[in-house]
């Protein structure tokens, strides 16, 4: 059996050109994760640069308004660069540097992972090129400029459907062409082994902190953890340290776009089928004869036709449940949290909030829900305005 399996999922379905690099990456990662100097250096960066630990905030008004379970927000939006992405990026860039790489490349959808990678590259003095679909560069013009400001080159991807999937394709193409000095900082718990494991480990700090924080505040584990799922890194991070705690319900929320019964969604587990793509066996939105389907979501960060292999496995064994929220529900949640708690969440995270709004009211007042607010919504304000038909001049 090949390496890096989660049940039947995962594996290394990738060009021979990259195989030695992946084997070396695994070896180096296994070495450095036990290396006290590396761990110390990363922890210092997370604390002093990224601002960890992130807060676990009791959303009192939201709790009272929904009238059921107590709602806590894990504030990954307060991290430096405004999302959970920095956790993974600091880990991978530091690892790449230790491996002797001088250049990093990354794909980005909403731009959060690109901004985070550009940031870490600036911090560590590495060259950086970010691949971003042309459609997304239009949806997220500010993030494009932000990455350039940080010294990164933004590579506009004009192949295929010109969104996140195509940015991943072109980032792989670039890595195949230039693997010696370059590390591909994959932004989610996806791709060929060892990426799903490495990214999960670097994001697991989220659930590690949630566990400590909620035990201190509530003296018990949460009853439910809710996170949005595209590739699945913030959800994997929020779930990981609860996997053994069977009493904690884990809910991943996919993007239902205009509805899962339309062609315009990105609900991979809800609607997808088993397949092999981007280096991994997992569930994918695919059409006849195994062509990868174009997917859609208002959220560029969830606009991906696959899901990380560990999520696919957690779904198979029933350890986590995967549901979906539509664009309309996400926008409503975006506005709701902004008004109710004075926190503007990323449109991605708003999918998780939307699900909490559906279920919290029916839960017991002693129950505790933790929502992972994976990012802040400043980047989405213009897009939400457009969605609502408001004309803005940025």
């Amino acid at each position: 059996m090949s390496r890096g399996r989660f049940g039947v999922h995962g594996g290394q379905y990738i060009s021979e050109t990259l195989m030695n690099e992946l084997l070396n990456l695994e070896k180096q990662y296994n070495h450095f994760k036990e290396d006290s100097e590396f761990v110390e250096e990363l922890n210092t960066l997370l604390k002093e640069y990224a601002g960890r630990p992130s807060l676990l905030y009791y959303a009192k008004r939201m709790t009272e308004d929904l009238g059921g379970a107590k709602i806590y927000l894990k504030r990954e939006d307060l991290n430096h660069t405004g999302a959970h992405k920095i956790n993974n990026v600091l880990g991978q860039c530091l690892l790449a540097k230790k491996m002797g790489k001088t250049r990093v490349i990354a794909e980005t959808g909403a731009g959060q992972h690109g901004v985070a990678t550009a940031t870490a590259a600036a911090l560590l003095g590495m060259e950086c090129e970010v691949f971003m679909g042309e459609e997304d560069t239009k949806r997220q013009t500010l993030n494009v400029f932000r990455m350039e400001l940080l010294g990164a080159k933004v590579h506009t991807v004009t192949t295929g459907s010109k969104v996140l999937k195509d940015a991943v394709n072109d980032a792989f193409r670039e890595w195949i062409s230039r693997v010696d000095d370059t590390h591909y900082v994959i932004g989610s718990t996806m791709g060929p082994h060892p990426f799903p494991t490495i990214v999960r480990d670097f994001q697991a700090v989220i659930s590690e902190e949630i566990k400590e924080q909620i035990m201190e505040i509530e003296g018990k584990l949460p009853d439910m953890v809710i996170a949005c799922v595209g590739g699945g890194s913030n959800a994997m991070g929020a779930f990981y340290n609860f996997l053994e705690d069977e009493e904690v319900q884990l809910i991943g929320v996919e993007a239902a776009g205009k509805g899962i019964d339309t062609e315009f969604h990105a609900a991979t587990i809800t609607k997808g089928e088993l397949g092999i793509f981007h280096g991994m066996k997992s569930y994918f939105c695919q059409g006849n004869y195994g062509q990868i389907s174009p997917v859609y979501s208002i959220s560029a960060g969830l606009d991906y036709p696959g899901i990380g292999p560990e999520h696919a496995y957690l779904h198979d064994i029933g350890r986590a449940q995967y549901v979906s929220a539509t664009d309309d529900e996400a926008v409503e949640a975006f506005e709701y949290l902004s008004r109710m708690e004075g926190i503007i969440p990323a449109i991605e995270s708003s999918h998780a909030i939307a699900h909490a709004m559906k279920v919290a009211g029916d839960m017991d007042k002693d129950d505790v829900i933790v929502i992972n607010v994976s990012g802040r919504g400043d980047k989405d304000v213009a897009a939400i305005a457009r969605y609502k038909g408001v004309e803005l001049y940025e």
């Binding site: 090949s2 060009s15 195989m19 030695n20 092999i276 793509f277 006849n288 004869y289």
Partner: protein, 261 residues
């Protein structure tokens, strides 16, 4: 013509160096794919790789990416590709292999796919996203139907070369350069040392592909390898001449084949 004949990849290498051509099925149409494969054979092609179009050909450069888009935009599917091969087989015994990403094969069903390959005398499969380490994904089924998995060896394979070569069947596809498919002005990889590593452990023929475009390049490659693989340059001719590419293909294949004899 191919009644119960057992066409083998080895046939392509039996009279000296092999010229291996590639095209994407359905570009510009399935009908033309049949005609172009026959034309390439007539011009001296010893083996033809037929690409099954895929939405996300991650290992391809722009030329073959666009061929995939053209083929998919006229709705070419896996059954159409098999139908083209059925028609080719009415007239030709040229050894054929599929070049396909693994997902279309997985989706079609491994058993159904390779059974069909056997029925139509398709000798092998090259899958850019199925490295040695994941070969078990299809090995049992391909062996059941006698289909070769063509192993790829890259400039970065190093100590993996002999591990891969030892288990290789059909032919070995040596990737000439880092990067995706596409025409290159020069090839810098030390192919001689890769090929001599291969020859130490196997008699399976080794052909070199990626970036080969001109007769001069083909001639140099043929000095060290058992075969020369050309994809993007052929696809480029089809892109340029569309439905009227036959003559151009014949001339090009002849010019290449002549230099490697």
């Amino acid at each position: 013509m191919s009644d119960k004949k057992n066409i083998k990849i080895a046939d392509a290498f039996k009279d000296g160096k092999a010229f291996i051509g590639f095209l994407t099925a359905g570009d510009p149409t399935i009908e033309k794919t049949v005609k172009y494969v026959l034309a390439m054979e007539e011009a001296g092609c010893d083996l033809v790789e037929i690409g099954i179009p895929f939405s996300d050909p991650v290992a391809e450069g722009p030329v073959i990416q666009e061929a995939n888009i053209r083929a998919l935009s006229n709705n070419t599917n896996t059954d159409d590709v098999f139908e083209a091969i059925r028609q080719i087989r009415e007239k030709s015994d040229v050894p054929l292999v599929f070049l396909t990403y693994i997902n279309p094969v997985f989706y079609y069903g491994y058993d159904k796919f390779f059974k069909r390959c056997q029925e139509l005398n398709v000798c092998g499969i090259i899958s850019p996203d199925l490295p040695y380490d994941e070969k078990d994904e299809i090995l049992e089924v391909t062996q059941k139907y006698g289909i070769d998995i063509i192993s790829l060896i890259a400039p970065t394979s190093k100590e993996r070369i002999q591990m891969i070569a030892r288990e290789a069947t059909g032919f070995i596809y040596v990737v000439s350069s880092l990067g995706v498919t596409g025409m290159r002005s020069e090839i810098r990889t030390d192919l001689e040392s890769i090929l001599s590593d291969i020859k130490e452990v196997t008699d399976v023929p080794a052909a070199v592909g990626f970036g080969i475009n001109t007769p001069e390049q083909a001639e140099n490659i043929a000095k060290v390898a058992d075969g020369v693989i050309v994809g993007s340059a052929i696809v480029n001719i089809i892109a340029e001449h569309g439905e009227n590419a036959r003559e151009h293909l014949v001339n090009y294949v002849k010019s290449m084949k002549d230099t490697i004899l």
